[in-house]
Symmetry: C2
Subunit: 155 residues, 2 copies
């Protein structure tokens, strides 16, 4: 799985060609807006809200609807995951990025109740006790875990 250097948080520079490949192989055309969205998702490691994405890319002249539709397209293609981290905001997180990009496995998220910030916790593991009464999938760990609390800044 991981090569010696795979753990390094260094983002593999999203190569333009790689991004295009990813899109094309998913049956999506490679357009400026899509490359921008996809590239941005490769740069940031935390889930982004639609608004965040629009702020970050809006100055490039893309339309809200376009970004929105692209995010949905990417989600449908299985490239990103669309989730609500508990703050009533849709967020999009890269799931199946260009080859070699990490951050693809399911992992817990932490959302700050105060500032709304999101932290990914790929290294966190949970041990569950007293799963009686819980759905089977809980015992089988076939679940998504989400934590809410105060981040170090806000506590």
């Amino acid at each position: 799985m991981k090569h010696a250097s795979a753990v390094a948080p260094l983002p593999s520079p999203p190569s333009l060609a790689a991004l295009q490949d990813l899109l094309r192989s998913s049956g999506l055309r490679s357009t400026a807006a899509r490359l921008a969205v996809l590239g941005y998702l490769h740069e940031t490691h935390t889930p982004n809200s639609h608004a965040q994405m629009f702020d970050a890319l809006g100055d490039r002249g893309f339309d809200r609807a376009t970004i929105y539709r692209n995010l949905m397209d990417l989600a449908e293609a299985g490239i990103v995951r669309r989730t609500d981290l508990g703050d009533h905001v849709w967020r999009f997180e890269l799931v199946r990025g260009v080859a070699g990009s990490r951050h693809t496995e399911e992992h817990p998220h932490f959302v700050c109740l105060d500032c709304g910030g999101v932290v990914c916790l790929p290294g966190l593991s949970l041990e569950l006790h007293g799963t009686g009464g819980a759905p089977r999938s809980v015992g089988e760990k076939k679940i998504t875990v989400q934590l809410k609390g105060l981040c170090d800044n806000c506590s």
Copy 2:
């Protein structure tokens, strides 16, 4: 019903007087709509969405806005908690019910990704490993835990 014989002492039948007391002691008037909402929250143990509440009580002639405002009032009074369990739907859960009603402590929730059903897991405990990089509050367990997956029905 399940006779897990566990901790649940049995839902104390929400006495009308008790509900009124609860409202009055929170500075809220005891009205038909409020008693209905509060009573319903005492009966159901899982968080209810605004829509669910309206479905359940709407036939009694209450207005959407009224139920909505009442839920907000109760939330502001600290009687219910308003949370988004990750499906982009606001849910309201009893936090400080009439004396003796349980279900008041913070506990994990499980949301089914398919049917949207919610299960409370008051008995579930978690052991966290590899909290490095996570906010301090995680290690201190000052957090809300939420699980998403498929319930037994949908799996």
